[in-house]
Amino acid sequence: MHLLETGKLCVTIGNTRVCDALDVSIDAGDRWCILGRNGTGKTTLLHTLAGLRSALSGAITLQGQSLQQLPRKSIARRIGLLFQDHNDAFPASVMETVLSGRHPWMGPLQWEGEQDFAIAQAALRAVELDGMEQRIVTTLSGGERRRLGIACLLTQNPQLQLLDEPTNHLDLHHQISMLELLQRQTQRDNKALVFVMHDINLATRYCNRFLLLFGDGETAQGAASEVLTHTHLERLYRHPLQAVQGPQGTLWLPR
């Protein structure tokens, strides 16, 4: 049984066809990257996979169960989503925000206990935000707020983690450390990752499966060697590219 599986999935947004009859299966240990131009519906597809919006047609099953029939809480224990942007309308502390990741795991009237605080604290340490527990989130820098979002996802601890442009706002050091943290944790706990990313070279370094959205409903999927070809990538970005051999494999540079 696959962790998440789509059958003949059709997703549209406005006049854009994101995918036509997409069959994709995500298994434990997979690290997927969704690539595509701006506005091809990468975020829309990610939200559809998380059950936040409905598809035009087709099925999504989570461990054999239809995603549509599952209660939100049950989905939230298995699928987590890092949004592209954070939207803080009210002041909240860093600790309060990261603790919200425990929400799906707690009973309706339950208060956060020592164990929840320990999990939250460990997540803050993992993203190098320990010591900032009492800071108000609206006073954080963009990169700090981004890492807080990742910490919240770690606290939620789902088997399938969907991350919409996780490296947004992050400096070079934190781009690498966050992606390595996610990769390490995925391998250790037998989880799965789906990234939406624009940096092909970071993607090839951390992902083992690729899904290309061409913007007309057509898609291509597979390992890097199968789908990351000159033809595909130039069609994908409508920009000439050059492959360069680097120390860790092929690097793609825009001409």
Binding site: L52, S74, F83, H86, A89, F90
Partner: protein
């Protein structure tokens, strides 16, 4: 920390209630108040305190608490810190009902029922109009509420223009919020207690909801159901408050902010704290309203606005966090 805040607010509530019982045109000393509360005291003092001031003080407290809890909930619902309990046209609907009852010369029961029905009608109207094409977003809800509220404003102006000269004063007092006809609010207390307990039970979901609808949904909150629940609950609380004392402004807007600024952000604590602080503030405002220019009584809504406007501006001026602005 939690218990400390609640304890302090509880003391504040007690102090405001006792001050309200002791002050007025017939001055009552603390000893006299003590003896009346323990079941003794002179006939006059007993009558003034138990039959006049006590019901009015409790009505003021209940109204303030209802408005503050409703305001807190509305702010979370529309994710806008500037929302108040009336943002969805509740007060306009209630005022229209009340003015119609005054025009028709109905008694106090008729007035209260008409106000309550008007508030509920407005709530259903806003709900169905913002729900129309199936896409229920909070921004559409907010806009529909604002438009309907100004529609009620026009109806109220029309009714005031039609109204007889001698009835105008009573109508204006009602529009500004007035507690002088308040009786012991058994129904209001019941609504307050039930609503508060219900809201606190969903407190953790409300905390998550402040991060946004989609984020809350991804964290396992059934956002649509929760939205509808908050909508109905906050509307009922606001409708009950308006029925008790007319449209009293600012309490429901500033009390949640004062508490958030003081660091109370968890809704499981914020909601009961808002009830206590809002109740105390309105009791104090009402005490001032009936003693400041005695024997004249001011509408309490005028006082809350007079105190509320500078207080809110000061809060805005001194804090960058109140609106969640980035630094």
């Amino acid at each position: 920390m939690r218990t400390l805040i609640l304890l302090a607010l509880l003391l504040l509530a007690l102090a405001s209630l006792l001050t309200s019982l002791a002050s007025g045109s017939v001055s009552v000393s603390w000893q006299e108040l003590q003896s009346v509360l323990s079941g003794e005291g002179s006939e006059l003092a007993r009558q003034v305190i138990l039959e006049l001031r006590w019901p009015r003080a409790v009505a003021a407290f209940t109204t303030g608490a209802l408005l503050s809890v409703a305001g807190t909930l509305m702010q979370v619902l529309v994710r806008n810190p500037l929302a108040d309990p009336y943002v969805l046209g509740i007060s306009g609907g209630a005022a229209t009902g009340a003015l119609l009852a005054l025009l028709l010369g109905l008694g106090s029961l008729g007035l209260h029922s008409a106000a309550f029905c008007g508030a509920l009608f407005s709530m259903l109207l806003v709900f169905s109009l913002s729900h129309g094409s199936g896409n229920w977003t909070t921004s559409r809800l907010l806009l529909t509420g604002v438009v309907i509220a100004s529609g009620w404003g026009a109806v109220i102006g029309f009714l005031l223009a039609l109204g007889p000269e001698q009835g105008l004063r009573g109508m204006l007092f009602w529009l500004m919020g007035d507690l002088s006809y308040a009786s012991f609010p058994a129904f209001g207390l019941l609504v307050l207690a039930t609503g508060l307990l219900l809201a606190i039970a969903f407190g953790r979901s409300l905390n998550v909801l402040t991060q946004g609808e989609q984020a809350a949904s991804a964290l396992g909150v059934s956002v649509t159901a929760l939205h509808r629940g908050i909508y109905v609950l906050a509307s009922l609380l606001a409708a009950t408050a308006v029925t008790l004392a007319g449209s009293i402004g600012f309490v429901g807007l500033i009390v949640p902010h004062m508490l958030r600024l003081a660091g109370v952000r968890d809704h499981r604590l914020l909601l009961p704290a808002a009830a206590l602080l809002g109740g105390s503030l309105l009791v104090s405002a009402d005490t001032l309203a009936r003693t400041l220019l005695a024997p004249h009584q001011l509408p309490v809504g005028v006082l809350t606005a007079l105190v509320g406007v500078p207080l809110f501006l000061a809060l805005l001026h001194h804090s960058h966090n109140v609106l969640g602005e980035a630094r």
